[in-house]
């Protein structure tokens, strides 16, 4: 008997075909009751194909059928209950047959799109008989209302790319990270090379990994994914490990509301990410890289895929890269609609074919990351900074920004500004200056949500704070992912708060009690308060819910799920301000 019992449901021939195309290991063979070739030992080799397999099934049938799931689970030797548990974790997978075969429109209802009439767009789609899913932020905040259309038997499309509106990119100096983005669009290797591409890789190969890490440490580069951890220290820790297998991961799950910088990087300068990841591999002794791209970024995934193909063709990836002793390959994984998969350990679980539940830390990724191996995980913007540092030197790098926050930062401006878009600025720029560069606030400034849903509110009192890690921290603010969502006085802030609370309620992975239930209770309480002034009992309960989520949640999602709400309370933005 094989080790596991699978389902009796029969797969369709199309489902069989797409699953077989994905999995190269032969099916388990049962020669007799006591002789089975290939059993659960298979799981270890193939389980990471579960997520791509689910995508393939969803695309083929328009939903994931019992027969299809059973066949996929059996081929991978993943218990079918677990495969179901994984599939139901993600927003983009449907486990029940939809009523119609038509496309599913995911329309963003998060704050910036909500104040730009996503509700009426949704109503319009529904009137026309379309299926609509009210989606969390889709990372197209510069052109609201954002939408993503999921199509059976076809390439799903993020409308942003489909409409091809060029992204607004700052022209102002210094343009470092964005220098190839905007006018040029370095989506082919030739253009990329002509604009300085692959110089840093040559340098890294010639000077070696120790030099690279030394430069990174001197540069003071810290992670741009939210936690601001020193990048050089991270790379050094992985370089020091003598594990046989080590990994480099680019965290391109970008789902923090108000954030779209990584999408722009991948769509417009994909080779830069490939080059920087290769340098990371060379520096820390890793031969395999993974790019985890959020499921809704289909254009970014396509362009990254094309870049990988080109880079491999030119031996910029593969074995003995450019004649050096170094080997490095990169694989792309698409997410499937789960904000939490941007948390690094949750991302590892997602790649490995498990539910995207964060792991307990310690151990940290540098000790035990992807597949339990030492792993460098960085944000795409962090990776781009590495190229800057190597190409122009530490001194030039540090000439921008402040001592503790050197360099430049990408800011995603959205909401009530004249020119929403992606702006690069030196650390230390103030909110006021940033708003001026974006053409100013349309209307009277009411509040700014800085750092995304996990960030906090600022208002006119904060306009002159230098935007650095240290200064924002001192003010109880956070730069987070660089999201700057601007709300003028036309906006009903309690609706914004309720939407933020709903976001966390929907996106909690559900693993730990403080966050699974706390996010629900916080949302319920905000609904109950509505536009009233909160009573002292309301305030106390909100505060105690915030305390347990912040203190006792497993991961950053629960730990920050109350910060925007609490900051709104402190600034007096909640409830009836007139009273």
């Amino acid at each position: 008997m094989p080790d596991l019992k699978f389902s009796d449901a029969v797969p369709d021939s199309d489902e069989r075909a797409v699953v077989d195309a994905l999995i190269s290991t032969p099916p388990v063979e049962q020669r007799s009751e006591r002789w089975v070739i290939g059993g659960r030992a298979r799981e270890e080799e193939c389980r990471h194909l579960l997520l791509p397999g689910l995508h393939a099934l969803q695309d083929t049938m328009g939903w994931i059928t019992p027969g299809g799931l059973g066949y996929l689970a059996e081929r991978l030797q993943v218990p079918i209950a677990e495969a179901y548990g994984v599939a139901t974790f993600y927003e983009l997978f449907e486990l029940e047959q939809p009523d119609t075969e038509g496309p599913l429109h995911h329309v963003c209802v998060d704050p910036v799109c909500a104040i730009s009439n996503s509700a009426s767009y949704i109503a319009e789609l529904r009137t026309k008989g379309h299926r609509v899913h009210e989606s969390p932020c889709l990372g197209q905040c510069e052109r609201p209302p954002a939408a993503f259309v999921q199509i059976k038997h076809g390439a799903s499309q993020d409308l942003a790319a489909a409409t091809k509106t060029p992204i607004k990119v700052a022209e102002a100096e210094p343009s470092r990270l964005l220098k190839r983005i905007g006018e040029i669009e370095c989506t082919d290797l030739e253009t990329y090379r002509r604009h300085g591409g692959y110089e840093a890789l040559h340098l890294a190969i010639n000077k070696g990994g120790e030099h690279v890490i030394e430069q990174l440490k001197k540069s003071g580069l810290t992670g741009r994914g939210g936690a601001a951890f020193p990048t050089g220290v991270k790379w050094e820790a992985v370089a020091a490990k003598d594990a046989l297998v080590k990994y480099v991961v680019a965290n391109a799950d970008e789902s923090e509301p108000g954030t779209f910088k990584d999408r722009v990087i991948m769509e417009s300068d994909p080779f830069a990410l490939v080059e920087a990841m290769t340098i990371a591999g060379i520096s820390a002794g890793c031969e395999k890289g993974w790019i985890y791209i959020r499921g809704e970024y289909t254009t970014a995934a396509e362009r990254m895929g094309a870049a990988l193909t080109d880079a491999t063709a030119w031996n910029l990836l593969g074995t003995n890269i450019l004649g050096s002793p170094y080997n490095f390959d990169i694989e792309i994984r698409r997410g499937a609609g789960a904000y939490i998969c941007g948390e690094e350990t949750s991302l590892f679980n997602s790649i490995e074919g498990f539910r995207g539940e964060p792991r307990s830390k310690p151990p940290y990724p540098t000790d035990s990351g992807l597949f339990g191996q030492p792993t460098i995980v960085n944000n795409p913007e962090t990776f781009l900074n590495v190229l800057e540092i190597l190409n122009n030197g530490v001194e030039s790098y540090r000439s921008a920004g402040t001592t503790n926050s050197p360099g430049t930062k990408l800011f995603c401006l959205s909401g009530d500004v004249s020119e929403p878009g992606l702006y690069e600025a030196e650390f230390g720029i103030t909110l006021r200056e940033l708003l001026v560069r974006a053409g100013g606030v349309t209307g009277d400034l009411q509040a700014i949500l800085l750092g995304g849903a996990a960030g906090s509110f600022a208002d006119s009192r904060h306009l002159d704070i230098p935007l650095t890690f240290e200064d924002t921290k001192a003010e109880g603010l956070t730069l987070g992912s660089g999201a700057v969502m601007v709300f003028s006085s036309r906006v009903d802030l309690s609706a914004v708060l309720m939407r933020l609370a709903k976001f966390f309620r929907d996106e909690s992975c559900g693993q730990c009690v403080p966050c699974r239930i706390g996010t629900v209770r916080q949302h319920e309480l905000l609904i109950q308060i509505g536009n009233r002034k909160p009573t002292s009992d309301n305030d106390l309960l909100l505060e105690e819910i915030a305390a347990v989520m912040t203190d006792s949640s497993i991961c950053g999602l629960g730990q920050t799920a109350a910060s925007a709400v609490q900051s709104a309370v402190q600034l007096g933005l909640i409830g009836d301000k007139q009273s």
């Binding site: 596991l4 677990e82 139901t88 307990s360 909690s508 992975c509 559900g510 009690v513």
Partner: protein, 288 residues
């Protein structure tokens, strides 16, 4: 002066210098020294998942509280297990659970709710976990409105004991639930009815059908119940059984979780195959 070898860790536990073997968790260290820390998702015979967060304690230098059940003691750590911050966190976890689940059949949780002053009445109309009781066979029932999602049954069914993997967490967030694939009824799933999930469930969400039936009658009477230790008569492994009876009728069979042979886990025969002990006249077959 204490000389600490690398195989030992010395740290401060509620102000007391404490030395334990390296690799000891804070919870184990506390248990060794008689310090009480409440737990829910932890069990001695399962891998810690640290999901309930009831066991959190304060560790100096750590921004967040840390779960005692899985966090290993670190040299020179300063740990406080009953600060105000800790008590508030535990009270809130208990309130959250109490506003969500039917906890009436878990006496440990009832005691803790009392102890920490958790007050579910502060919440107006909280959404609860509702699910009709699943009665699919004669062996055990699943009442998921009691389920606190502690992962214990999933672990016991999976690679902590049974390796059957019939159940998994499914869904996300507040909608997370324990489920077979596509909610298939247990008899058609991979389940082999070892009952190990029932054995580890802390809230009685999973319970023997015999117990469930008895609880439906006015006769349910914990005072008059006894537990008798015996050895399973089916095979040569010789698992220890604890046979729980009321009025001389069996309603549940368990095995001690610290038992060297079973670690609390049994197979379908030892767990559910007791009918031959009771003359059929005394216990009419249950039909549902």
């Amino acid at each position: 002066m204490t000389v600490t070898r690398s195989t030992e860790v010395t740290f401060s536990l509620n102000g007391q210098q404490t030395t334990v073997a390296a690799g000891t968790t804070i919870l184990e260290a506390a248990q060794e020294t008689g310090v009480e820390i409440p737990t829910l998702c932890w069990a001695s015979n399962l891998t810690p998942v640290n999901a309930c967060r009831l066991c959190v304690v304060e560790m100096e230098g750590s921004r967040a509280l840390v779960p005692a059940c899985s966090r290993e003691c670190e040299p020179n750590a300063v740990i406080n297990t009953d600060s105000e911050r800790v008590a508030l966190s535990r009270k809130m976890v208990l309130e959250f659970l109490d506003t969500t689940n039917d906890l009436t059949q878990s006496s440990e949780l009832q005691t803790l709710i009392e102890l920490y002053g958790a007050d579910a009445s502060r919440y107006s109309d909280p959404v609860r976990s509702e699910d009709p009781v699943k009665v699919e066979d004669d062996l055990f029932v699943r009442a998921y409105d009691r389920c606190v999602l502690c992962y214990k049954c999933v672990e016991a069914c999976g690679d902590d004991a049974q390796f059957t993997f019939a159940i998994s967490m499914a869904g996300r967030g507040f909608e997370t639930r324990v489920s077979t694939e596509f909610e298939t009824p247990l008899p058609e799933s991979a389940c082999v009815y070892c009952g190990n999930c029932v054995g580890v469930c802390p809230t009685n969400a999973l319970q023997f059908k015999a117990e469930f039936d008895l609880r439906q009658t006015p006769d349910w009477d914990p005072e008059s119940q006894t537990s008798t230790d015996t050895i399973c008569s089916y095979c040569g492994v010789g698992c220890t059984l604890e046979v729980h009876t009321q009025d001389n009728e069996i309603f549940k069979v368990t095995s001690p979780s610290d038992h060297s042979v079973t670690a609390g886990h049994l197979c379908v025969k030892g767990r559910f195959g007791w009918q031959y002990v009771q003359p059929p006249t005394r216990r009419p077959p249950t039909n549902h």
